[in-house]
Amino acid sequence: MTKEPLILIVDDEEPIRAFLQTNLTRRGYACAEAATAEMALTLAASLHPDLVLLDLGLPDLDGQQVVVRLRQTGEVPIIVVSARDQESEKVKALEAGADDYLNKPFGLEELAARIRVVLRRVGVASGDAPKTFGALTWDPAAHRVFVGGQEAHLTPVEYRLLGVLASHPGRILTHGKLLEQVWGLHSNEFVHYVRIAMAGLRKKLEPDPGNPQFIHTEAGTGYRFFE
């Protein structure tokens, strides 16, 4: 990337926008600010930002709606930053298409780390080429998975699960989304399927299942695959 990445900061609190802008600019990002949902949608359409930092409590339209609208028009990565800490809000935003979710108050270091992960994911090439994440290699064309050079023998469900995870590195995948994509189920009644399959997958992939490197649990929400 030749130009510095552009981040659109959407928050109705001026002081929050101010310190975020200062901080992010110093970390080498370009920033744009929006105080309302309407303004955010206009700016997103005209500026084509590389990432949107979105607060949910906006004066004119709920942030959840903004996520939906943004997803209708494009694939811009969205990180939700909100004081609402109910799991339901979190899951709703993630399932609507947000890439990550951060509770207020948050540490700036953590925010910076999440931004890096999401931006890197956008750069990851898609296609059938083998993908390597540290010691893990996934070869979609050959339908094989290697850990530290050794082939891991996965069940069909585990393989599909890994496929979904590894296609979205860094992004939280909710239980609902995984159920839908791997099992084709649309009911959260079966969340334990995901948990059980995930425990099996971890045992086969993680060199030390007690210290997982690849698959991180977001309690009550879902899982995140790390490079």
Partner: protein
């Protein structure tokens, strides 16, 4: 009615297996005492124990047989309950202790045993049922002659009638029957060696019950009955497999039951027949007007017959009717009955004289229904009392009849003096017969007819005032007079009975109506109880009370009931069964107690006190009470529903307000905190180089305090959400390692500098928890370990033991003094170490952990770590029903 109409009952029966939560029943079945049932049971128990099952003995007959005693030694036993009966010291199964102990399997020897007076249930099999209801598996022993349907067969073979019987339906409900078999020769050997009974009893037993012939037959019966059961199991499996394709056509057998002791025998025959045919058994009583005025002894016999029918697994039905045969056939057609069984009526020649027997009538009406007529044994000699009660001559009625007839004779004399013809005089006397029949019934009517004949002869025929007869024509007149009088009497009697029965029915309807009306207007439970107590008492003619326990399960004071009676009420309420006097449970009690069961739960009890001494209980009261309780329960339920709806509306409103408050509070506090923390962090990064050391340290202080404030705000919000009353948490199946992995991950990402060691075993079970809460609890432990224990040597481990997963956070801090360990988990309490620590807290972190443990059914605590430091643990039980 179409012959192949699908029968919904039978279909339901195949679709509804016994409730999955009920304890299983395993029966060790033998053909005689001494075959080794108890020994076989104990042996099986020992091997189950070795396989890791939790087996205890609830009751084992003290046999003093060495092998048995040896087996018993290895098993845990629940101590029996001691009862004093007169001067006798009796020992019984301690039901409550077994229920409290809650083993997986409990051994209860001798299923047929009758409990000592003062026990909760009359029979041991009722104890066993209660244990099974509580989900405990029961193993028991039984001899074939104690099985209800086998009882009389065995008695006929051996000449020994046992009193203690077990209903067939209990035996048939067993999931497993193990026949304990031994060669009869061996059994006789053992008996003669005195291994079964003492040496003094053995010879007597050998000559009687234990004759080889007897034993051979008993053995065959036992094996056949057990094989029967296996056959039926296969049938039912077959039916279930095909249930989608075909309607299960099951035979249905109906038996007509009356107030005769013979009916009992008939029922046993019918039950055997039904079992052999694989048919369902219906026992039907047609309650004719005649049956409603039976002697108390006959009433009791009828009730007993119905009990026998129920214990044989029959469905019992009481129908109101006028004509037995017609009503039986009509009901049989309605229920798709294929076979009808009745007893041969012996005696009762008078009935035949007047009309066809019920059997004849049935044969005429039955059409395609098969009719079986079984001969009964001669009635046993229990008849004496019965006969006395019904056979006594009604002298009082005869006196009155004589008086009435005297009056009408006098009237006849006056008429004659006015010159009336003989025909009119005969009619005058007949009028007298009708009057006494109307008032005093059948016997008085016949008696009056005879009197009328004599009066006519004496006063009005030539020669007058003498019993001799001049004209033989008069003999014919006498005969007509007698017959007409008797017929009138019988007809009047039937009419009268009909009137009595319908009046009773009317009264019952009227009572119920009144109750509905009076209770309809009431909207509070207390009012209903008071009004209903009075009403029911009035209707039944004895003191009755409608009682409801309060929220804590206490019964209202001031009604004059003692604590034992209150316990009876609680039992009835909890089990939804009537108990006390006149029932089969706790019948030594003075009171009869009926449950008032609503559609969703038991709402209270109806307590009926005994009638005043000397007053006879009106017949049919149980039925009346039954309908009263139904109506009472619905009234109470209505009130209950209203109250519940109100409480629910209030709870919803409270919850809404609270949520709104929490929501705005969390937003209002978090937003400024975010701004302050973010701004300071930005400043720290950019401005520190331009500040002098004093100013830098001030900035650092502001930053630290802000982070502290953020954490406390989060803790407060967490705690207030956790301690909310009545908010159900949805627990989910989660692999036990999940929360600990996410907690450690979160802490590591928040505080990259902290060193945390993690030890998680490879295979852990699933837990039923709220994963975010458990994660939060572990995060709190970890933050404490860093704040108060310096963060060095922090180890997180997960252990699996005693059906529990234990999350442990170990530190190398100063430790927690023993006296403080419980206290630090309270709200706003902090340990000594924390007070002196430079890190300020509010004492909410551990309170949150405690609440999390509560919500997830677990336990939180702290113990000291060998080598210095503390171990904070959170134990969560592992559910048995892993998906």
């Amino acid at each position: 009615m179409e012959p192949d109409r699908p029968d919904p009952d039978a279909l339901l029966a195949t679709l509804e297996p016994s409730s999955p939560d009920r304890g299983l029943l395993k029966v060790f079945l033998g053909y005689a005492a001494g075959v080794g049932k108890t020994f076989a049971m104990l042996q099986a128990a020992t091997s189950a124990l070795n396989q890791g099952r939790d087996v205890v003995t609830g009751w084992v007959e003290p046999h003093n047989r060495p092998e048995t005693t040896l087996q018993l030694a290895g098993l845990e036993g629940v101590a029996p309950r001691s009862l004093t009966h007169g001067t006798l010291q009796l020992w019984e199964l301690d039901l409550d202790a077994c229920l409290a102990r809650r083993p997986q399997v409990v051994l209860v020897d001798e299923l047929a045993h009758t409990n000592a007076p003062g026990s909760r249930h009359e029979k041991r099999w009722q104890d066993v049922e209660e244990l099974r209801d509580a989900g405990i598996e029961v193993w028991t022993t039984l001899n074939i002659q104690h099985l209800d349907s086998m009882n009389d067969v065995v008695a006929r073979i051996t000449g020994v009638l046992v009193q203690e019987t077990v209903p067939d339906k209990i035996f048939d409900s067993a999931q497993e029957v193990e026949v304990v078999d031994v060669d009869p020769e061996d059994l006789i050997d053992r008996l003669s060696q005195g291994k079964i009974y003492g040496p003094d009893q053995a010879p007597r037993a050998l000559g009687g019950f234990f004759k080889k012939d007897n034993l051979l037959v008993l053995r065959e019966l036992t094996l056949r009955r057990a094989a029967d059961r296996v056959g039926r199991e296969v049938d039912s499996a077959r039916t279930q497999a095909h249930v989608q394709k075909i309607w299960p056509v099951r035979e249905r057998l109906m038996v007509s039951v009356g107030p005769s002791p013979l009916s009992e025998d008939l029922l046993r025959h019918a039950a055997r027949l039904a079992r052999n045919l694989g048919a369902q058994l219906l026992a039907v009583v047609i309650e004719t007007p005649g049956l409603r005025v039976l002697s108390p002894a006959a009433q009791a016999q009828l009730a007993k017959n119905l009990n026998v029918a129920e214990s044989l697994g029959a469905e019992t039905v009481v129908l109101r009717g006028e004509e037995v045969a017609r009503d039986l056939v009509a009901y049989a057609r309605y229920r798709n009955v294929t076979k009808l069984v009745l007893g041969k009526n012996r005696g009762h020649l008078s009935w035949r004289f007047w009309r066809r027997t019920i059997g004849d009538e049935l044969l005429r009406l039955s059409g395609d229904i098969d009719v079986y007529v079984l001969s009964g044994r001669n009635p046993p000699p229990v008849k004496s009392k019965n006969r006395e009660a019904s056979g006594a001559l009604p002298w009082k009625e005869f006196g009155w009849s004589t008086l009435i007839l005297g009056l009408f004779t006098a009237l006849g004399v006056v008429f004659e003096s006015w010159g009336m013809v003989e025909a009119n005089l005969i009619l005058t006397l007949l009028l007298g017969v009708v009057v006494s029949a109307g008032f005093f019934g059948w016997a008085a009517s016949v008696f009056s007819s005879v009197l009328a004949v004599f009066a006519f002869n004496f006063f009005f025929t030539e020669p007058k005032y003498s019993l001799s007869v001049a004209n033989p024509q008069y003999y014919l007149v006498f005969l007509f007079l007698l017959v007409v009088g008797a017929v009138i009497g019988i007809l009047t009697q039937r009419l009268r009975r009909g009137v009595v029965a319908s009046r009773e029915r009317e009264q019952r309807m009227e009572s119920l109506n009144r109750m509905h009306k009076e209770l309809a207007g009431l909207v509070d439970a207390e009012g209903i109880c008071t009004v209903a107590s009075g009403l029911v008492g009035e209707i039944l003619g004895r003191r009755a009370r409608v009682l409801q326990p309060d929220a804590q399960g206490n019964w209202p004071q001031g009604e004059g009931y003692d604590s034992q009676e209150a316990a009876l009420f609680s039992w009835v309420l909890g089990h939804g069964q009537k108990a006390g006097r006149g029932t089969s449970t706790l019948r030594e009690q003075r009171l009869s107690v009926w449950p008032l069961a609503g559609a969703r739960k038991a709402l209270g009890v109806l307590v009926v006190e005994p009638v005043a001494p000397g007053v006879r209980e009106a017949p049919g009261q149980d039925e009346l009470i039954e309908s009263l309780t139904a109506s009472l329960a619905s009234a109470l339920e209505r009130v209950d529903l209203i109250a519940e709806a109100k409480a629910q509306a209030l709870a919803v409103e409270t919850e809404r307000t609270r949520n709104a408050l929490l929501h705005s509070l969390s937003h209002d506090l978090r937003t400024p905190l975010t701004i302050i923390a973010g701004s300071i962090e930005t400043l720290e990064a950019s401005a520190s180089s331009r500040l002098d050391p004093g100013e830098s340290s001030l900035l650092a202080t502001v930053g630290r305090e802000t982070r502290w404030l953020s954490r406390q705000v989060e803790n407060l919000l967490h705690l207030s959400r956790l301690t909310e009353v009545g908010v159900p948490w949805t627990l989910e199946w989660v692999p036990a390692e999940d929360p600990v992995l996410s907690a450690v991950g979160r802490v590591r990402s928040l505080h990259p500098g902290w060193a945390i060691d993690l030890k998680v075993p490879a295979s852990l079970p699933l837990l039923k928890i709220e994963p975010r809460l458990v994660e939060q609890a572990l995060v709190n432990y970890l933050e404490n370990a860093n704040d108060y224990a310096g963060g060095a040597g922090v180890l997180v481990e997960v252990l699996l033991q005693d059906h529990q997963v234990e999350y442990r956070v170990l530190d190398r801090g100063p430790g927690v003094a023993e006296g403080e360990r419980a206290a630090i988990f309270g709200k706003f309490t902090r340990g000594e170490a924390a007070k002196t620590s430079p890190n300020r807290g509010t004492g909410l972190g551990l309170a949150i952990v405690r609440e999390v443990a509560r919500v997830n059914g677990g336990q939180a605590g702290v113990e000291s770590r060998p080598g210095g430091g503390s171990v904070f643990f959170l134990k969560i039980p592992v559910p048995d029903d892993q998906p």
